[in-house]
């Protein structure tokens, strides 16, 4: 679904909803109906949600990096999704509170017929909205499965054969040129043409393989690359769904009210027995009527049946439960992206282990993987190698490794340890000043002090060892004062 299409749909729905809001406002003024007024505010909340989504989409179109935002604005859609999800949760909360109040103090509906008609009109508009945004609700789930499959798609390119065949020639040529360029850069000063030729062939074939995988996974990733936009639209869809459910409740309630409720008419002596809860302010009328009926001994008609008055809050509570149940996954997903957690489909420990097992890589630390938006995943790592001369080769291998994992934006910092001792292998050679510790992104291993060396030595006995050992590096290796601080914090 193109960006323009999304844009158009949002704008269309926004205009429709706003127009209907105005209509409902006018009708409520004319009929002096409070229920109409509150329903119009539901429409207004819809308008707000649509506006937030629209602003997010407009922002996210600017994907160029600028001085203000070096990543471009693509994250705006995830933000829009989070804002909409929290907004919806808060609205559910207020609806719940209103429903509880209604239980304590039930109201009759005035002008039920007008409410029915306007409610049906609102329902139609919301159904149209649901239809417009429907593709995103289910597709949100699909987005996940695609994201999960990208990893599989990398290693076994079985899909999209036609894509591969079409771009086969192009891919070959591109790979060749890329290999040549990189060869020129990294291997100046090495053996003669022969060696270069052989090596470039090897690299060509490897590149080609990688290229194949790249094309295959690319298609899958393209499909899931709309996940950010899908999140945003899911937020909108949920708002419209909430509104639709609200309209359904209004219509059902008004219909039942019209046909089942026997109201009190002005001329008869009539009581409303439903207003006899302990919370009522009408207690005095109840006792008055009681004495009246005793006095006259006649029949006093009662308005009823009472359960009709409790129908509205009950349905509201059910609606709130449904909405919260469907909103929570969206809330969680967008929050996890914004918190810069590792994306679901990536297993950090396994990745770390495989990275360490690459040829030429001595140690890996400060590995960070996070999701910018959708399928744009970013990784940074510090890699310790033997010497700079062979580094560009290793760099190429590392990039290809990350590419296979679905991470295409990486920054790899090479470090070359001055001594080959084991203890220095997994320390960062290049930290900032020691006093900058609280301002680092994360508290990790610091310069060699006796304490950290001891910690490092014990767990790094085999630097190519099992992934299990090395994952602990995030937790254990800390600057001593930082460790003390965290210990004290955790006792609170």
């Amino acid at each position: 679904m193109g960006l323009g299409q999304t844009h158009g749909r949002l704008l269309c729905m926004l205009c429709l909803t706003f127009g209907f809001f105005i209509v409902e406002l006018v009708v409520s003024r004319v009929t002096a109906s409070l229920a109409m007024l509150s329903d119009s505010f539901h429409m207004l909340s819809d308008v707000i949600a649509l506006t937030v989504a629209l602003v997010a989409v407009r922002f996210a179109e600017k994907t160029q990096a600028t001085s203000k935002n070096t990543f471009g604005w693509i994250r705006a859609e995830v933000m829009g999704a989070l804002v909409n999800a929290v907004f919806l949760t808060a609205l559910c909360f207020t609806i719940l509170l209103e429903a509880v109040e209604r239980y304590a103090d039930p109201h009759e509906i005035e002008n039920p017929r007008v409410v029915v008609w306007v409610g049906v009109a609102g329902l139609l508009i919301n159904l149209l909205g649901l239809f417009l945004f429907h593709g995103h609700a289910g597709a949100g789930g699909h987005g996940h499965s695609h994201g999960g499959h990208t990893h599989g798609g990398h290693s076994h390119g079985g899909h999209s054969h036609k894509n591969y065949e079409k771009s086969d020639k192009l891919a070959r040529k591109e790979a060749e040129e890329e290999a040549c360029n990189l060869m020129v850069k990294s291997n100046c000063g090495q053996a003669g043409d022969q060696a270069v030729q052989i090596e470039s062939d090897v690299i060509l074939s490897r590149n080609l393989n990688v290229q194949m995988n790249g094309d295959v996974s690319l298609e899958q990733l393209e499909q899931s690359s709309e996940t950010a936009a899908q999140l945003n639209m899911r937020g909108v869809f949920l708002h419209v769904l909430g509104d639709a459910l609200g309209s359904v409740i209004v219509v059902v309630n008004a219909l039942i009210f019209t046909f089942v409720w026997r109201p009190c008419h002005g001329e008869e002596t009539c009581t409303n027995p439903c207003y006899n809860s302990h919370c009522s302010d009408h207690q005095h009328t109840h006792s008055e009527v009681h004495s009246l009926s005793n006095a006259t001994g006649g029949v006093v008609s009662a308005a009823g049946p009472c359960w009709v008055l409790y129908l509205d809050p009950t349905l509201c509570v059910i609606m709130v439960v449904i909405l919260l149940y469907t909103t929570f996954p969206l809330l969680k997903e967008s929050a996890l992206i914004l918190l810069q957690t590792v994306p679901k489909q990536i297993d950090m420990q396994r990745l770390d282990g495989k990275l360490r097992s690459l040829e030429g890589v001595l140690a890996v630390h400060e590995l960070h993987i996070w999701q910018l938006a959708g399928s744009r995943i970013i990784a940074t790592a510090h890699v310790k190698c033997h010497d700079p001369a062979s580094y560009m080769d290793i760099a190429k291998r590392i990039k290809s490794f990350f590419h296979d994992e679905g991470i295409h934006a990486t920054t790899v910092q090479p470090e070359f340890s001055s001594d080959a001792t084991e203890s220095s292998v997994s320390e960062c050679e290049l930290p900032c000043y020691s006093r900058c510790a609280p301002k680092l992104c994360c508290e990790t291993n610091r310069k060699s002090g006796s304490e950290s060396e001891a910690l490092v030595g014990t767990e790094d006995s085999s630097s190519q060892g099992t992934p299990q050992q090395h994952t602990v590096s995030w937790n254990i290796q800390q600057e001593p004062e930082a460790a003390l601080q965290t210990h004290m914090e955790s006792t609170v």
């Binding site: 409070l34 207004l44 909340s45 707000i48 600017k62 994907t63 160029q64 990096a65 600028t66 001085s67 203000k68 935002n69 070096t70 990543f71 471009g72 604005w73 933000m79 929290v86 808060a90 609205l91 304590a104 591109e174 850069k185 990688v210 790249g214 690319l218 393209e222 302010d281 918190l339 810069q340 957690t341 590792v342 950090m348 420990q349 590995l367 996070w370 744009r376 010497d387 700079p388 560009m392 990039k399 290809s400 590419h403 295409h408 934006a409 920054t411 790899v412 910092q413 070359f416 001055s418 290049l430 900032c432 000043y433 006093r435 900058c436 680092l440 994360c442 990790t444 937790n475 914090e489």
Partner: protein, 410 residues
């Protein structure tokens, strides 16, 4: 102890007070048959929700990095503050809807004395809350300064003796930067402020009804309009106070560069270093306030030995350190081709990956200072490098053809 303990203690204390008052108000409302009290108690309920969110984020944000969150959960505070702000906005929306309904159909307060009493109690609770969350700033600042002096020891970077002159400078920065309240507390503070102003409105309205009592059957006069109109004024005040918090949290969550830094200046400083040919793929962002992270690719022009690389790293880190960025990841690319000044020598596998990289329309903050065409880093303008015979570049420019240079001002 750090201010972390102080923060959660205050939150827990406020939560306890709010729960107690909420229960008291509900009981009083049911006992006294007043709907108004019951609905006022729900304000306390929303306060409790925001306090719980604040408490949860304060606790979670202390967690270390793990395999699921490589940066730890430091950002939970930011997300929690944003959620509190949006939650507050939604509450304000429904409050203003109620107020507008009241304006169209005004009602009088039935039992002004009871409402006055409970309203004043609520106001007292909220003022206590405001006071609790406000106090610590000057005290904390003094404590931190003292701690900073104590821990000033050798400043060594990269195994070499770094310049010692920056001690005073960074200490200065410390005290300047930590003056604002933590975001977490600011979110909760807004909720408490909302409640406090609401109580003020309740007290004012009930005082009016108490001092000038109305006949129960008389139509509603001007006094009935005081409550809703004051409520709308209150909504406006709180929205204005919430705006800076929302702006700050969104700028952190959108990965914007820190507001007091000019990326262009940093780039210029880095590219002026002797060994650097060009710099590209620069990203600077805030993890949370005062914790900035940067990544960049640096092109150097010859085979480097370990010590040259080390000193290059030291120089680059020094530049970033002066700018206040202490977590930097530098990708070094060794390139001999001067013409290829600013393109990545180590890109991902194919150009198709550009779409899936962090920034698909790949502008490069190119600064060639070795006789290449130098591009102004200036404002926000982003210039594309002209195509040459290099096939890699041709492919790139083909992809990027049609995207004009843009100056985007935020």
């Amino acid at each position: 102890m750090g201010r972390y303990t102080g923060k959660t203690c205050r939150l827990i204390f406020m939560l306890v007070i709010t729960v107690v008052f909420f229960v008291a108000e509900i009981v009083a409302g049911y006992a006294g048959n007043s709907i108004a009290l019951v609905s006022d108690s729900f304000n306390m309920l929303s306060d409790m929700v925001s306090l719980c969110v604040g408490l949860l984020s304060a606790r979670l944000s202390r967690r270390r990095g793990s395999a699921r969150c490589s940066y730890g959960l430091a950002r939970v505070e930011v997300v929690g503050a944003l959620s509190n702000a949006v939650f507050l906005a939604a509450l304000l929306f429904s409050i203003s809807a109620e107020a507008i309904k009241r304006l169209t159909r005004p009602e009088r307060i039935d039992d002004p004395f009871l409402v006055l009493v409970v309203g004043s109690l609520g106001l007292a609770v909220n003022v206590v809350g405001l006071f609790i969350f406000q106090d610590c700033r000057w005290m904390c600042g003094r404590a931190r300064r003292a701690a900073g002096e104590k821990s000033e020891e050798k400043t060594v970077m990269n195994g070499e003796a770094g310049p010692l002159a920056h001690q005073a400078e960074s200490q200065q920065k410390d005290t300047n930067q930590s003056d604002g309240q933590p975001l977490n507390i600011r979110g909760v503070l807004l909720h408490v402020l909302n409640d406090a102003l609401g109580s003020v409105v309740v007290v004012v309205a009930s005082v009016l009804f108490y001092v000038w009592p109305d006949d129960a059957n008389a139509p509603c006069n001007w006094k009935c309009y005081v409550d809703p109109s004051l409520t709308l004024v209150m909504v406006a005040i709180i929205l204005i106070s919430a705006a800076p918090l929302m702006k700050e949290t969104t700028s952190i969550l959108l990965q914007m560069s820190p507001p007091d830094l000019t990326v262009a200046t940093i780039l210029e400083d880095v590219s002026r270093l002797a060994a650097v040919v060009s710099v590209h793929e620069v990203h600077v962002w805030e993890l949370v306030k005062d914790r900035n992270v940067a990544t960049l690719h640096v092109k150097v022009n010859s085979e480097f030995g370990k010590s040259e690389l080390r000193s290059l790293y030291a120089q680059i880190r020094e530049v970033f350190h002066k700018a206040g960025i202490h977590s930097v990841t530098i990708q070094v690319e060794i390139s001999d081709d001067e013409l290829d000044g600013s393109l990545c020598s180590n890109p991902c596998m194919s150009t198709g990956c550009l779409k899936l990289s962090c920034c698909p329309t790949e502008p490069t903050f190119a600064s060639g200072n070795k006789g290449n065409q130098s591009h102004s880093l200036g404002e926000v303008s982003v210039d594309m490098v002209d195509g040459t015979k290099n096939v890699l570049r041709e492919r790139d420019t083909k992809q990027l053809k049609g995207k004009p240079t843009e100056t985007t001002k935020f």
